[in-house]
Structures are given as structure tokens and as C-alpha cells.
Assembly symmetry: C2
Homo-oligomer: 230 residues x 2
């Protein structure tokens, strides 16, 4: 599919060079992240819910209790803004004013609608699972008919979206570069620890490799992009 067409809501105005509208960049961020924050309106007031998500092609899927709550009083579809943010580091400048963060974020605007067709619903749940823990779906009991019925799945077509990325060192005022102050970046990343077995687990089962060596899929986005200071 073609790249995203910048809309009035997805066009970066303040520092345009930080914006990206190509699907590779946007999907790379969506695929590395797994937690999104969904904004919607309830009785005229803003509401934000954190939840997991999955992506299949040009659709984003939400499910479970968050999806239920989203649609509790909103009917078949809901106007949402979805944000995914990956924090790559804290940027320390010589002046308080120019401190910043390095990050990659995606914003998506659109209407999320309930998925009714059972084939698409199961496919979404599989994508959801594979997004979070690749390989897990094959190992576990698939959803029963009752569990499928109890699960609300929302599909949000990826039509109006953009990425925002900051990389690189701080950008200080010219005269501040002479200050005797350390400046640079503290890199931040997600770290997976040793798997902790369920106390109810049968003793002879070892954690699978996807639990022992858990990582998120990282595209070379951090390194491939030119430094965008400021």
C-alpha cells in the first residue's frame, strides 16, 4: 500500500524533519512496540487506556477488556487516537532548557470497529499473540468458542498515521558549548529478565527459548536515520 498521506493532524509542524510518513518506518515502530495508549471520548471527556495490540498488514487490532471498555457505551465503532512510544534515551544538554528525549513514536487516528467474522477474529488473536511472543501460539490451547465470544476485537485500519523520531546528541546554544558540563545521551532500552515459572507449573517443563531469550524485533531505525537534534 502507498505511504501515508500527511493530514492536518499527522503533519509535524514544529520540527517537520522529525516526521516520517512511510509505512516501513511506521510499521517498524509498531512492530517493535507492544503497548499502545488509546485515546477516545466518553460523555464529552477525554479518556486514555493502555493496552496491547497486534498488527496484520494495514490493520491494527486491539482486544480484550480494553476493547470492551472502549465500546461499552459507544456502539459498533469508536473514534480513537492510538499512540505507541519507544523511548531510546535521555538527552542531557548543557542548559536545562535543551534537555530532551530520543524516541520513536507513532500516532494513528481513525475509527475502530468491532470484528464480527470469526475467521478474522481468530486471525487477529493469533497476530496479537505472535506480536507479543513469536512462537507462543503454537504451544498453547487455542481459544474455545466461549472464549472467542467473550473476547471483543477491534480493528483500526492504518490510514491516517505518522511517526515522529528524535535521535542524536543535544543541541545547545552556541555560547553554552564552553560550559564545563557533561552532555550526551543515556541510552534506555527494554530488558527481559530470567523467566519466572508459575508456582503451579509441573516441575519438568523448561521455559521455551522465546521466554529465555525474549527480545523485541528491532529494525535498524535508530542507526539508519540521520541525527535530528534540537
Amino acid at each position: 500500500m502507498d505511504d501515508f498521506i500527511p493530514s492536518s493532524r499527522t503533519t509535524l509542524k514544529r520540527i517537520p524533519k522529525r516526521g516520517a510518513y512511510d509505512r516501513d518506518t511506521v510499521y517498524g515502530i509498531l512492530d517493535e512496540g507492544f503497548l499502545c495508549h488509546v485515546g477516545f471520548i466518553v460523555e464529552g471527556r477525554p479518556c486514555v487506556i493502555p493496552t496491547a495490540y497486534g498488527r496484520v498488514g494495514d490493520n491494527l487490532y486491539l482486544h480484550g477488556s480494553a476493547a470492551s471498555r472502549l465500546l461499552r457505551s459507544l456502539g459498533e465503532s469508536v473514534d480513537v487516537c492510538v499512540e505507541v512510544t519507544l523511548v531510546d534515551g535521555i538527552v542531557l544538554a548543557r542548559s536545562a532548557f535543551h534537555h530532551s528525549m530520543n524516541y520513536r513514536s507513532v500516532v494513528i487516528f481513525g475509527n475502530g470497529g468491532i470484528v464480527h467474522e470469526s475467521g478474522e477474529k481468530l486471525e487477529a488473536l493469533r497476530a496479537f499473540s505472535e506480536h507479543m511472543i513469536p512462537g507462543r501460539w503454537e504451544d498453547v490451547r487455542e481459544p474455545s468458542q466461549n472464549e472467542m465470544k467473550a473476547t471483543t476485537v477491534i480493528c483500526l485500519p492504518l490510514i491516517e498515521a505518522s511517526a515522529k523520531i528524535r535521535t542524536g546528541p543535544p543541541l545547545d546554544e552556541e555560547q553554552d558549548y564552553n560550559l564545563p558540563v557533561w552532555a550526551g545521551e543515556i541510552p534506555l532500552s527494554l530488558k527481559a529478565g530470567e523467566p519466572v515459572a508459575d508456582p503451579a507449573l509441573r516441575a519438568q517443563i523448561d521455559p521455551p527459548s522465546y521466554a529465555r531469550n525474549y527480545t523485541r524485533p528491532t529494525k535498524a531505525l535508530r542507526l539508519g536515520l540521520p541525527s535530528q537534534s534540537g
Copy 2:
């Protein structure tokens, strides 16, 4: 100040035992986190912005470009929902349906207003800096008059808020415990890497200890709470 009084919006309905309304718990999560997602309404549609924050007593402060954007067309105050989410782990169940996350999150509803008084504004900026990197403020050049003018600071009083916490192992269906499937938790945490110096840095400046040993302040919340499965 007294603990939060659960409102219709902050009361957990689906799994009430996961909710917490005491300021110690809520502030512990706010102090460990540093990234929030702010939901607000623009021209009748939901919008979410990720941004850093600081806390001073019973006030949350937002600032910078996010604050500017929030208030660009909204005037002196803005109705917001602020979410802070700390992901502690992925919970692997024996059934696809019962997979979950362990997390600690805070939701705040309220009206954010512009801080005009310069004393409070400077105090908020200092809190902002100290929240992110304790000790940094003393080392850097403080904001100039022009920088202060160029900075929008929003104060959100912490009145309507609650925490939501999940800890512990998966909760599977009784009959699934016999499945030969590993179950448990993959712990996730934030990891700080070696500081990366600004290429423009004068060679003889070493990174300060707050950059070399960067951590977030962690209360014993994860360990102190009873397991809340499901």
C-alpha cells in the same frame, strides 16, 4: 492530603481488587515513571500526546512543546486524561485466552491550567528535571528569561486519580493446568546503557554518576503487593 476518592471514572469495575486509591501507591508509580500519555479533545476528536512530566506534591506538571500543543487552541485550561504505565512483565498462560501483562498504571483526570507565576514555573521546571535525572539541575545552566517565556508549563492538580496493578502468575482454567505447556512470567524492566558523550563535548569531562548509574526510583510495590492473578 487524604487518599483519592474513587469517582465513576477512576473506580475499577471489572477486577476491583486491582485498583488502588492511596496516594503512596499512585505517587510511587508516578515517581518511577517519566513518560505519560496525555489525552485531550481537539475539535471534537480525541488526541493523545506522549510527554515527560514532573510531580511536586499534589500537582503534576507538563511542559514544553507538548504543553504548547495542548493549549494551542484551547485557551487557559484543558480537560485531560493522563496515563502512566509501567510494564513489569508478560504473563504466559497455558491457554491463549489467559495471557496477560503485569503492570502498574495510573490514570489521572482533570483540568490542566497554565502556570503564569514565575516562581512556581521555575520550581516546576526544576521538579521536571529532578524527576528525570536527579542531581542534574545543579550542574546545568538555568533557564534564561527568554527561555522561561518560551516555555509553557501546565499544572494538573492530582484530585481524581487511581492506580491499577497486576502482579503474579497466570490464572488458567482448572483443566488447563495439566497441559504440558510452560507458564509463568517474562519480567521486563527499563535498562540504562553506558552514557554516550556528545561528539561536541570537551574531551576532559567525564559523565557524572547520575548518567553512569542511571536508575528509576523503585518502591517495593512489585514485591509488597499480594499476587493479583486473572
